[in-house]
Symmetry: C2
Subunit: 463 residues, 2 copies
């Protein structure tokens, strides 16, 4: 029988991260400061350590992974590449379906790939304490895990409604030694202001970011910094180990290259991880279709404009050139909490502008149907975010069947769903809601951006 | 740096299960029927399919694993052997600590090893539907997963208190297509009787077994059978892939043999899985210390007598020769639900009688301390059951340090703890209770066994 899994030896773990900025045919536009001028790196020095800021602005193609970070990554990496033989058989598709299994990390998703790197750089810079925010809890868990290993204090501002609804995530973070509190909290100026106005607010990711950033930059010891789990260049960079490993593994599986690469997108980090090394190949002439999949409830790439916008709801971050639904956009409460982000990583956005990637949007009911078929065939219970990649994979496998083509499909299995079972319960009891985003709602939420600096849609026209 | 994981190729998965009964120096005593006479295999025909009953009574040393079961096992097997380098470093021990990681199965524990085998044999025998009971939910999830893959209906009677306290486990089972209901239920005679007497009972594993067995044997279609997740010979047999793989992996790691093998014990199945292949080596002359670890709250091997007793609380099963605290024993509510079993697998019991294994009991507070140190060093959150094996491993590693010996310690990481975080929460908030079992309580619960047939303590005296 054909194999179902390909493992790499620890010595075959990638030694360098891949930086797409070096290969994008058009240059990246800079983030802008509050004055509308390009941000100077040193202006971020209170938020991030300088070694990470240097990475954020680097245009080097390859960046060496320090040995100590490799040592940490090998706790669970290289991650297996699996082949979904049972799903192929069920679909009677000639396609070969491969997936990179990022659910095997201790936190259960791809997030620790950047968490251990960020924690290590901060520690090296002399930082003693990291702050962050978390929504559904995946990122908070990953950073708590990393800080625990490396020996940093960790404070996580968790959106109040998730804090109350997902007590298990909080316990995970505490087990890893992090201090996890509900946001808005009484511990920051931003939090207190919100609580005064809205004492019963369920909180939001925007508010939690404001609190985490304020906490880091106002810490008088100067040894706190803030850490972000997606969107920024250095975060996406750290995730490229996913695609780099997958490339080696596909070769071992006897496949020259994938025909289709698929990943779900919220802020863009797991998608970038699996896709960027293959976008590189595409830029250099390979024919590969690369598909980011987003929820119809938050259709950033498929329905938003490319423009400068804030990374957070409160407008504390620099302005970033990206696809966005407006920083005030509040997505419907779909279960894929990790995909409920108004914007899109600038690197992913520029790849979309160039036509290097072909975004699609899927409704969550279709995604849960795909997740159920996955559980029936491949046996595992996937995260609600991951179900978007699976739904698209099934579509592509059916298309291959119709066309009679033996396509190679590769997708990123970004995380398991064992901590997020409520959506399955709703689906099984027929109570899951389908959401789409009417045009007027998007227009409304984009209105505050009217007078923002415009990002140029730089497109070389080669794709 | 030394490696942290050893994977085997799928082609290196064991092709045969190892049956300890063939090598035990003393013969196994038979299970006894209600009349006190040895049970005839056909008396079990309404409960289990004949192909499984044949396995249950087999004394063949090696039993071939059918190709179709191998195909199912390769969904996640061979499981990785990992080395706990970070823990070794933290403890400054010269010991090499290896662990077989059974948490990588879709259900998160070793249980699917036997679940897919049992489901397959039932399907082959023409059975259409399996019933079982579950306490904490690990076994119910594993059987639901297996039936889903193989195409059998699955009905799980889940102890009422767990059903209410662990809704996530129920959702997992439902996602895998099983019908999971709270026990006692109104759907069986046994359940209705109990509900009449005690309408608000939290239920018990004993009651749930009674319901599941009654459901299977009274199904008029004749195509239902019952499935058990531990204790019986065939269940332990199916788990031996764990130890057989670990042997090959230790060789690859450059270790001739382990000096110490450790597993937690409840009914005995994960312990048997890791230990039996090494007990075989011990019988054939190797010096290996083999340690089953049980909770002080349920000290079957360390404080119970070896005698005939029922496998269930209600007295529906045959009498089995085993270490037991009495079938009426109700263990304190420790978090390691999988270790709250009054008896012990007959094969494990006979190995203990022979002195081939050296049982120890650990209190749950010491076990959670070990689990916290594990999370701090190795990064993963283990199941409360697994924490018992870790606590003992840490003791052994410290002992090796004191003795200055470069010992090889191998333990079974039987499952992850992501579905069982409540115990961590209690530990972190200082509310965890230590339990021990006073002698008089054990004596009391053993009183009903006074007139039971006696099991002979057959000991060849070679260990």
């Amino acid at each position: 029988m054909p194999f179902k899994k390909i493992f790499l030896n620890e010595k075959d773990i990638p030694r360098r991260w891949y930086n797409l900025a070096a290969d994008l045919p058009s240059p990246m536009q800079p983030p802008l400061g509050p004055d509308g001028n390009p941000l100077k790196p040193e202006m971020l020095a209170k938020v991030f350590p300088m070694n990470i800021i240097e990475q954020e602005v680097s245009t080097a193609r390859w960046i060496d992974i320090p040995d100590e970070i490799l040592e940490l990554l090998t706790l669970w990496r290289p991650a297996p590449l699996r082949r979904a033989l049972a799903l192929e058989k069920y679909l009677l598709t000639p396609a070969h379906i491969y997936y990179k299994d990022e659910s095997t990390s201790p936190a259960g998703s791809h997030k620790p790939n950047t968490a251990v790197a960020q924690a290590w750089y901060n520690k090296k810079f002399g930082i003693k304490r990291l702050t962050t925010e978390t929504g559904a809890g995946q990122w908070g868990c990953a950073l708590a895990f990393a800080c625990n290993l490396i020996g940093l204090e960790c404070k996580v501002y968790m959106v109040r409604i998730s804090f109350d609804q997902k007590p298990l995530r909080k316990i995970m973070m505490q087990t890893w030694g992090a201090n996890c509190i509900a946001s808005p909290s009484g511990q920051t100026h931003a939090g207190r202001q919100i609580l005064k106005k809205m004492p019963h607010t369920p909180g939001s990711l925007g508010i939690a970011i404001s609190e985490a950033v304020e906490d880091a930059v106002t810490d008088k010891s100067g040894s706190s910094r803030y850490s972000l789990g997606s969107v920024l260049n250095h975060v996406l960079l750290h995730q490229t180990v996913i695609g780099l490993e997958a490339k080696k593994q596909l070769k071992i599986a006897g496949e020259r290259k994938p025909d289709v690469v698929i990943g779900c997108v919220g802020g863009g980090s797991n998608f970038a991880g699996i896709a960027f090394p293959f976008i590189c190949d595409k830029i250099h002439g390979e024919k590969i279709e690369i598909i980011p999949v987003e929820p119809t409830a938050c259709p950033t790439l498929t329905k938003g404009p490319f423009t400068y916008d804030f990374g957070d709801t409160a407008g504390l971050t620099p302005l970033l050139p990206m696809y966005t639904l407006g920083h005030g956009f509040v997505p419907e409460p779909i279960h894929a909490g990790g995909l409920r982000y108004h914007g899109m990583a600038p690197l992913v956005s520029q790849a979309a502008v160039e036509g290097l990637i072909n975004p699609r949007a899927f409704d969550q009911i279709k995604c849960y149907e795909a997740a159920m078929l996955w559980a029936k065939t491949e046996g595992t219970i996937c995260a609600p975010e991951t179900s978007h990649a699976i739904a698209c994979t099934i579509d592509e496998a059916k298309k291959a069947k119709k066309e009679g083509k033996e396509k190679v499909i590769l997708f990123c299995y970004s995380g398991h769903g064992l901590m997020d079972l409520a959506g399955y319960d709703k689906f099984l009891s027929g109570k899951l809601t389908a959401y789409s985003m009417p045009k007027h709602k998007i227009e409304e939420s984009l209105r505050p951006l009217k007078n923002f600096p415009k990002a140029r849609k730089i497109k070389t026209g080669r794709w």
